[in-house]
């Protein structure tokens, strides 16, 4: 039975950074991922990573932009930490070998990004996430004596000891189907977001909210689950991402009449307003008939010099060519807002600790909350690295101080039974698991998206509850042990349904408009009643609602214009 002081679940940026940080403290570290680490979704972060590192910039300015971007729902103590520590983290990555873009003097160069008062986004062409993640994986390979890698191990559930401390997790080795209990004094959830709950989404097929749901199931509160970011520039049919970096480089948004409509919605920042603002503007244009017949508007990148496009936006050239048949250097590309990011997640403190001793969370799975109602572009990579590192360090320190509890061995048997039951279900009695998943995605995208109202959210919530019921008898085809993706898909479906229920409940409960939550029946922000987080804790019949205050240090809420 593998046993580690710190067990990291998920091997994207947050997970890898956490593992490396914990190993530096000299404790035994294991990192588990249901896919090979370099397949993780941090790859998809194209545009860059924010830090106030240049002369003339300050962490306070970065922090204020983040607070304002969050529509004042972000916790300012956490935001301060993130922005203060950002420059050092960028330099650390550079020293490890990330091939950041340089200016003419050979020093780190920046590009402009949405919602930022300065060009403070550091980048590698438009493959920033991929470049950083592959460099971190280089470091994992380098330190393989300190960090055990369990690649293609699927976590089915967390295990607590008798005192309620997190003490490990149950794993299924994907390649042969064997189940094992991994003991750990500390578990860090770095399992990413839950974008697959919505269809379409920019998120990868693996982004099924596993960690969020597993933490919720063992009693850890979730926070800000109603805050779901729709990215302003995604491809119409497939939902693929076109980086905000394109607008950072000067690309324009045009409606079907060729008007630069952001003049109306954000006269100062134009295309580089916050994402929630730009997405709402686009959706308004589309809803009011000024979009194209396929429900899109246009992103015109042709205004950027071609040499610059090839150097800095090459991935987008490929996405346009391969997935839309458009040469973006020559013609505008059709885009629309699409599901992109979960601001909410497992509630943690600034060290990544959850309410359950020994259980940590970092990255998109977690909610610190630095993004509040709306995440700024290029702040997510930063979030993963800063809070991944802090969780790694803090859990390693804790490992040195505590006496480990023992997880109950019944947990393994329970999980094995659960999977056996799933595989043994009658085919043909219930629905196919894949059908349930599809219906979930469509309902959520229809009702819990850019514009919401009580009626729509209720419809979605009812659908989710029905699907939860149906998923209990939903069947699969693959009954084998080796690489049974079918059974893993059914487990993921359960995770997704938990996440969906929480998002619906929180969105329905917050009767105001703030950040990504725009209620057409409550169109104003209401600081008096709603300057607070919604926390959700699992109860026998669904999420139980409580509140926690927003931490305000130096920036009082103001009207938010761009």
């Amino acid at each position: 039975m593998p046993r580690h002081d710190v067990l990291v679940i998920g091997a994207g940026l947050a997970g890898q950074r956490a593992a490396l940080a914990a190993a530096e403290e000299g404790v035994s570290v294991g990192i588990v991922s249901k896919v090979h680490p370099v397949r993780s979704h941090s790859n998809a972060a194209q545009g860059g990573i924010n830090a106030a590192l240049q002369e003339g910039d300050s962490w306070e300015s970065h922090a204020f932009d983040t607070v304002k971007g969050s529509d004042y729902l972000g916790d300012q103590d956490a935001i301060e930490i993130m922005c203060r520590e950002a420059p050092e983290e960028i330099l650390h990555l550079e020293h490890l070998g990330v091939t950041f873009h340089r200016n003419d003097e050979g020093r780190l160069g920046t590009r402009a990004f949405g919602g930022a008062s300065q060009a403070r986004t550091y980048y590698v062409a438009d493959i920033t996430g991929q470049a950083i993640m592959h460099v971190l994986y280089e470091q994992l390979m380098k330190h393989s004596e300190l960090i055990s890698r369990y690649e293609e191990y699927f976590t089915t559930g967390l295990v607590l000891d008798d005192d309620g401390n997190c003490a490990g997790a149950v794993m299924r080795n994907v390649s042969d189907g064997t189940m094992e209990l991994f003991e750990a004094e500390n578990v860090i959830l770095a399992t990413g977001g839950n974008g697959q709950v919505w269809q379409p989404t920019t998120n990868a097929l693996i982004c099924t909210g596993d960690g969020i749901a597993m933490a919720y199931r063992v009693g850890a509160p979730l926070m800000d689950m109603e805050m779901i970011q729709y990215h302003p520039t995604t491809l119409a049919k497939k939902g693929f991402l076109i980086t905000e970096g394109a607008r950072g480089e000067g690309a324009l948004l045009l409606n079907a009449k060729g008007e630069r409509f952001m003049e109306t919605y954000a006269p100062n920042k134009m295309e580089l307003a916050s994402r929630d603002v730009v997405s709402r503007a686009e959706q308004t244009e589309i809803n009011e008939g000024r979009g194209f017949p396929d429900g899109t508007v246009a992103l015109d990148i042709t205004v950027v010099p071609r040499k610059r496009i090839h150097e800095a936006l090459r991935e987008i050239v490929l996405v346009g060519r391969d997935f839309a048949g458009v040469d973006i250097t020559r013609e505008p590309i059709r885009i629309k807002p699409g599901n992109h990011y979960a601001m909410g997640g497992v509630k943690t403190d600034v060290n990544g600790a959850t309410s359950i001793p020994g259980l940590y969370a970092a990255g998109e799975a977690a909610c610190v909350s630095v993004h509040g109602g709306n995440r700024l572009g290029a702040n997510s990579l930063l979030d993963t690295l800063i809070f991944g590192r802090r969780a790694g360090q803090h859990s390693a320190t804790r490992a040195k101080q505590i006496e480990a509890g023992r997880p109950s061995s019944a947990a393994l048997a329970d999980e094995e039974r659960r999977i056996a039951e799933l595989i043994g279900r009658d085919r043909g009695k219930g629905r196919r698991a894949s059908e349930v998943r599809k219906e979930l995605g469509e309902a959520m995208d229809q009702h819990v998206a850019v514009f919401r109202d009580a009626e729509g959210i209720k419809t979605a919530l009812e659908t989710v509850k029905r699907l939860q019921e149906e998923s209990r008898s939903a069947y699969i085809d693959d009954l084998g042990a080796v690489f049974n993706q079918d059974v893993l898909g059914a487990i993921e479906l359960g995770f997704m349904l938990d996440c969906a229920e929480c998002s619906c409940v929180a969105a329905l409960h917050r009767t105001e408009s703030r950040g990504a939550q725009y209620r057409t029946d409550f169109p104003e922000r209401n600081d008096e009643e709603w300057l607070k987080h919604i926390d959700l804790t699992r109860d026998s019949d669904g999420p139980e609602i409580s509140y926690s205050p927003v931490t305000i240090t130096q920036w009082q809420p103001m009207e938010r214009t761009y």
Partner: protein, 385 residues
């Protein structure tokens, strides 16, 4: 929506049966991908069909597979395109053939064991930065173009398509291979790395190293991210040979230089001179060959005999040094001009710098078309790369 047929090579290890072919009908929009087709099969018909996949957008590198015999990504291949390709290859209405990647063991259906092959080779090249001493207080100051340059290698998503397509690997499974060598260039080309020479020496001396590539372009063709692994291997060779003067025990450097010298002189390859020039450059009538060269020449005799016996070497006249067909007209001068240009400029075809096609002349830009682009303007690809 149009119907397509996918003919999938399946292998279910727990069934006790060998691999078999199975056809599936799918209906989806022509601009969706082969992966979308496979996922439709999985969702609607047979959940036991397995394929690694995640991003669906050619970023994560999970869905390397062979489609109609070509190594590529399932998500990046449009189903209509694959359908046309199948018909073009076979004539009539043929199904789209989908197989697991080659040069690695199959675990189940389209899932291969990349750990024992691809990742082992990646680890072979010491895949992490080896800087000298402690890092500076701020960032390393490096030429901006050097970072753009190695970004082409960093763009590798480790999908294994190049490994699957590699003809050298088929013959020599121990070849370090295109992906790992492209990864090696990412460090050799990085000014922050202090071990470039050591890395190059290691990769040149290894009999399965940089000189084991046969320059067949398969990996360049297969790579879904335009990393052009073979180009990176050639750059490793140039830097090892020209900049670091590393002579390898495999005679790779001299063989390559013999190749280029003969073509410079004659316009095309005079194979009668190749062995001699590879092992004992400039020997003919001038110098006395070294014992090593004689050993090399003698050692190559079986190859020559095999060439004759198998009919690969068809013309006996070609064995006589100096008897070689001249290029017509002033073609020979053209060839020499290419050499001159290449020597003067030493430009690398890097898509992060030059883009897809020949750049339109931009008077305010110092950038000129790369020699490769100038010689062969690339028409719009219909096969998709």
């Amino acid at each position: 929506m149009p119907d397509y047929t996918l003919k999938v090579r399946r292998y279910q290890p727990e069934s006790g049966e060998g691999a078999y072919w199975q056809e599936f009908k799918v209906d989806l929009d022509p601009d969706l991908s082969v992966l979308d087709g496979l996922l439709q099969v999985r969702d609607r018909e047979d959940g036991s069909l397995v394929v690694r996949c995640s991003c669906r957008a050619a970023i994560c590198g999970s869905c390397g597979m062979k489609i109609n015999g070509r190594s590529t990504l399932g998500c990046k291949t449009q189903i209509a395109e694959a359908h046309e390709q199948a018909n073009r290859r076979n004539g009539g209405t043929e199904p789209i053939v989908v197989e697991p990647m080659a040069n690695m063991p199959v675990i189940k259906d389209l899932v291969t064991d990349m750990e024992s092959t691809h990742w082992t080779k990646i680890r072979r090249v010491t895949p992490w930065l080896l800087p000298e001493g402690d890092p500076p207080e701020r960032e390393y100051v490096v030429p901006p173009e050097s970072m753009i340059d190695i970004t082409q290698s960093m763009a590798c998503i480790q999908c294994g398509a190049c490994v699957s397509s590699c003809l050298s690997l088929e013959v020599d499974p121990e070849f370090i291979g295109p992906a790992a060598l492209a990864k090696a260039y990412r460090f050799v080309g990085d000014p922050r790395d202090a071990e470039a020479r050591g890395r190059l020496y290691d990769l040149a001396q290894d009999p399965h190293g940089i000189y084991d590539c046969t320059h067949c372009f398969s990996c360049v063709d297969a790579c879904p991210k335009d990393v052009a692994p073979m180009d990176q291997i050639m750059r490793l060779r140039r830097i090892a040979g020209d900049d670091h003067d590393i002579d390898d025990v495999n005679n790779g450097r001299r063989h390559e230089s013999a190749f280029t010298k003969i073509i410079e002189k004659k316009g095309t390859l005079d194979e009668s001179l190749l062995l001699q020039e590879s092992y004992a450059q400039g020997v003919k009538g001038k110098l006395i060959p070294t014992p090593g060269a004689i050993k090399g020449l003698v050692g190559s005799l079986p190859t020559a005999v095999r060439g004759l016996r198998t009919g690969k070497m068809r013309s006996l006249a070609k064995l006589i040094p100096g008897v070689h067909e001249k290029l017509p007209g002033d073609a020979q001068e053209h060839v020499q001009r290419i050499y001159t240009h290449a020597e003067e400029h030493r430009e690398e075809l890097n898509l992060y710098i030059s883009g897809e096609e020949e750049l339109e002349p931009e008077p305010d830009e110092a950038e000129t078309p790369t020699p490769e682009a100038a010689i062969e303007p690339e028409p719009d690809e219909e096969g998709g790369r």
